[in-house]
Symmetry: D2
Subunit: 337 residues, 4 copies
């Protein structure tokens, strides 16, 4: 940690900071710059954060040197994390496509979609059963009935299954039915839920919060890993910007950046990011070319009648065409799909 002193800090103030740091067991280095004094403090980052140094008279600011995350960091684990689900791997050579409707609406809707996306080459079926909706008056999901349908779809098609959980109760139920747990963007800093997800034995897809920085996103993953669940998949799903023509703004720079900072797999959800199905194919191709390990794509057998997010859902036919196009892009960057 670096302590930057104010331009007009007195000798007494410098000494007080110096003594406090020493008293807390830090080793210190004084650097007298052209303009101002800087103190390098060597010791535990956590301790200095609660040290009160920041508000001692004469102190301008503290500059952390260490990163706040450990377990998620590529500095700590150099090799890519590869997560095995059923008969495939996430984070390895194959790019994994997860597809399905925004919400599980009925047995017929889900099974039909599952068969169609499986035929097109998807590896997993998604479907919301607990829906975090902005309005209390919107459809809130089929809950456990939906989980049963997902499990059935998984058995019938061989697809892996994934669903979002919204609290400890839905998490407790979901682990009995699906292969992968999803924590949504709005819950990215629901720390109680993150801790609970860290105690289950299923992989967790952690979506990036609407206005979260990379560091906050990685810290959320750190919460899950710090409880013992190391199988975390980060999912970029668009951030909030000033743009109103799209729902959110897909941040594809997150893909190579997270790969630099962390060893965890990264997937991309272009459907929620844009809110518009016409933008899903070009951005899916962009995500694959930029190095994503997978895609989360909304597909609905009849988007016009969807109970949720119809405008961003592909028809099964469009999904099939997209899968063929994605294969070509994947091969161009040395991967499979």
């Amino acid at each position: 940690m670096i302590v930057v002193m104010d331009l007009r800090a007195t000798e007494e103030q410098v000494e007080a900071v110096y003594k406090r740091l020493e008293g807390m067991g830090f080793k210190t280095h004084l650097i007298k710059g052209v303009e101002r004094l800087v103190i390098g403090a060597i010791g535990d980052r956590k301790q200095i954060q609660n040290s009160g140094i920041e508000i001692m008279p004469g102190v301008e600011k503290l500059v952390p040197v260490m990163k706040p995350y450990k377990l998620v960091s590529r500095e700590v684990k150099v090799e890519d994390t590869v997560i095995k689900v059923r008969d495939f791997n996430i984070g390895a050579e194959e790019i994994i496509v997860i597809a399905g409707p925004c919400a599980v609406e009925s047995r017929e809707q889900l099974l039909e979609t599952a068969e169609l996306v499986a035929a097109a080459g998807a590896r997993a079926i998604r479907g919301g059963t607990y829906k975090p909706r902005t309005s209390p008056y919107s459809f809130q999901g089929m809950e456990e009935d939906g989980l049963q349908l997902l499990a059935e779809a998984g058995i019938k098609t061989g697809l892996a299954t994934i669903t979002e959980v919204i609290d400890e109760k839905s998490l407790g139920l979901a682990v009995n039915y699906v292969d992968i747990i999803q924590v949504g963007a709005r819950n990215m800093q629901n720390f109680q839920l993150l801790k609970a997800a860290g105690r289950v034995s299923k992989p967790v897809v952690l979506k990036r919060g609407l206005s979260a920085t990379m560091e906050e996103w990685l810290m959320a993953a750190e919460y899950i890993m710090s409880e013992g669940n190391y199988n975390v998949i980060l999912c970029e799903r668009g951030i909030r910007t000033f743009e109103n023509y799209t729902r959110n703004t897909l941040d594809l720079s997150a893909v190579p950046l997270i790969k630099q900072l962390s060893h965890l797999p990264v997937i991309v959800d272009p459907s929620h990011a844009t809110g518009e199905w016409r933008l899903v194919p070009p951005l899916s191709k962009g995500a694959v070319a930029a190095g994503a390990d997978g895609l989360l794509i909304e597909v609905h057998p009849d988007p016009v009648t969807a109970l949720c997010d119809g405008p961003q859902s592909l028809t099964p036919d469009n999904f099939k065409i997209l899968m063929q196009e994605l294969r070509a892009v994947a091969q161009a960057v040395g991967r499979d799909i």
Copy 2:
């Protein structure tokens, strides 16, 4: 709801939209503009949102006419909501000051602070006992022990008590100890928690999310009210912007704007908004002058040793001076403190 047709929509496309709307029981009006056709659809907003109209061929966009919130709206309830807590009212002539440390750290720390802020004119003591922290390695709060200390401080000083809850479990405990429940910024769209808070009989302070719009914030209050708890107090606590010199950016325009849109009381937290105690007095005065019904101010007997957010805490002496200054500003705008 207004349906705007594409410039190049065919007659068949217009007819299909028209028929679908009629089939769903909407009354329709066609308006042929200079450039494009517009269809006014009269009926239930909720129904049209899931109608699939938005993705029918030839449709450019839907424009909602009705607001999504009802119970929180000043259109539905014209008179200000006034919430009685102990011997004072929130949302009436008196501006209510809630003060105290970021976190309850010890019996001594809390009782000392409570007595000092009560003497200076605060009406309630705040103190975090369940802390949502960005890092899993930071101090997470004293939990139920802290709640007991809050209750004790309330009895000793006559101050009302307020604390943040982070899940249904902490909510269930907190209602037994404190007068007011707080839902924090990171949980503003934790809909399960909002619904649970809607079923308790204590007033709820609902903090604005870090990047929430007014509409999303009001919809979160609508969640609480839709479960039956009408005693909601909105708290502006700063939004995320590009500025790095402050922790967040306090949005004081939220105060008069919320007063226009809603009948609920609005309070302001300048401590979290800025993260810097020197900015707290000028912005507290600004909030009062702009029409806030109350303030939430961090005070710590010894900020340098605080376990959490020391840099934004006032000393008791500075708080006392601020209370005197606030009184003058309150009177200048026709209120008391």
Copy 3:
């Protein structure tokens, strides 16, 4: 234009709005909804914006139906605009790569870079000669001397040349030396400069502003086109977000979205968007896969000694490797490079 009346608007207020609209020559339609009244006003958008309707008593809001831009719109011109520069086309099948240093620093630096990027397959050389810098104490560019070097590099290598202009004076000079004019992000709403660029006969690359919406960006292009210069190339170069690990956030959804809304070509600058050379190759591939018509990539023969933006510059060797990788991706999406 749709006029939404307040829930509590009186009959007199409705009539006053109605009369004013009729008096201004608008045709009107009244739609009585479940909750509130809506008036459809048919006529010239521009006129209604200055009509004062918005602040008449009883009016809640105006909703525009027509888009504010005309000449840039794909509704007005369905076919893609293709811009001929020297012996290549921008906006056609070939993806055009423009490469070169952030700033022209010396004859040797520029000519060396030009030869290397030409050999690797670039079509144009870029180099700043007038630099808009955040600090008045930073290097401000070689000005006309730099323009002469660019012209020389263009002659020697056959590459087209492009440089940024910052006011009418630099624009007046630049048109004598280079093939393409660039208006930078900070000047996207410098309307005097846009108008001046609309009066020259060279194609203009218009960079998106740091926090500009699509609509504002298109309106800036409209400024240029409204003066008669129809050869505008839009360049996505990253927007400001909360992320601090990158300089800006590249918005690749801009590529397919602009293609929907406009007939103009779209290129991408991953170097300025990220500020970090390691992120340039994956995002260049992402841009091509998402449908970009070209790329603007910083290349410097020795990034460590660059006077400006060294951290985001590729070495010539890395650029050569990238060009080979881009060819594969371009072919996978049915294009050339």
Copy 4:
């Protein structure tokens, strides 16, 4: 400047950085932390920025210690800058109110407004004569005719005059007619215009850019001051956020924060910030209570017929009431109006 080395930096890499710093004339200090090595480099900030150190192998990041601005800084000049205009001072005890229409539309409109705002206690009349408009099809201002009207209004009423300039040409004309020059938000980083404004002898009001940080805003003021014009007044006018109910979001924390960082006066424009006249009175009062040195308020004799920004203009009657209310708030914080 602090150089933070990568966790896995080799000894050779550290030595190379060390040698390069020494070779450039920096004094260096090595600090071996718990995890990683840090090098303190003492010397000229400007030099190190172009040193290429940031991209040497093994370097994680550079952390600047010195602030980039000098002349605007309170560290360099401790006393408040007070700017004399006609018979009043900006930045002293009196809070200065500047009022008038968005645009000068006619002699009658301007003179009527000037007399009314003078009677209510305003010190200066504002009026746009060169209007930077988002659309090329909107009213662009009366240009020099408008400047003449402003001068006439100044003579008739004794008010000081202020108008916005948009390029060197309008600046050259405006200095002959008005007392104060304004550089608008969209031109905050039009560095050519800033330099030109630095060479005139009239005070300059510098509005904050739509998404500018404090540091960028202060750097823009530094541009003006670096050319010799020390009479700069900073004007907070709202920043872009996700909120759509207001045009921009007024950032009143800018007022005390700029006062900490700089010696320059700060004024507030609540009209442009909100775009809604009903929000102007509460936020004007908030600005005064938070310490603003002045206000810039739009007043129009008949907002319904205004050619520009009618919805945000106060009527003269409402302005008169506001001035009385402001006086009470100003006195409550120890100032006059």
